[in-house]
Symmetry: C2
Subunit: 145 residues, 2 copies
Amino acid sequence: MKEVLREPGCELCELAVPVVWQGEKFSVILVDDAAYPGFCRVIWREHVREMSDLAQADRLLLNDAVHRVEQAVREVMRPLKVNVASLGNVVPHLHWHVIARYADDAHFPAPVWAQAVRQTDAAALAARRALLPALSAAIAHCFQE
Amino acid sequence: MKEVLREPGCELCELAVPVVWQGEKFSVILVDDAAYPGFCRVIWREHVREMSDLAQADRLLLNDAVHRVEQAVREVMRPLKVNVASLGNVVPHLHWHVIARYADDAHFPAPVWAQAVRQTDAAALAARRALLPALSAAIAHCFQE
């Protein structure tokens, strides 16, 4: 059996948060960010640094996973825009951010990593947060096919 | 003949910067950012908003293009990390950022869209800038195969 690459102390090797989908090669979580309901993360299981370190079949699998999560986010959260990014400067363990963006969100139109420019209305955030069970279900469903 | 989707006034529909690769469906440019030599952009030709708006073959083609550019960036620029992102909040015309990141760059380890935390040494930037002709050549080459 092939050994799984792991890095002691890496928070993504030892994922301690609830997952909405746990596959053999990757997991999907909803990021706990009060300002960004609909912020998902697709986390590769092995401690790999870059997309281009993956074997081709794994790279295609992960691209496809990100695509499915993007579709689920659009379907359920109806965002104005989806932002997709693989950065990993702080935690160099391959993962993708899939973020539902809205005109009234804390940073729009800037990336979520810029300085916040506003506070989103609490009722708007609550309405989006109310969609998260449906988002979890849609994500789980999209990987069961 | 299928008409190409275009949006009047979109700066990516009317690309006015030099390209290092011009394909039938996408272009690749080196972003003119003094602080980030090795910052590339892969720009889809048609005015499409999201990855998940593409037909599957086009999506795979664009994923593959981003992958090839990432490989060229790693090979030539030898960055500490590659950052890859499709945001498009300001210009909702599908494009990918592929960014060479270094421990001494203006924002590391934060994303390049955060507040800058330092100025990179001019000699280090000049050394990286000197690699850009090789990067252009590597990108052009990777799409000729």
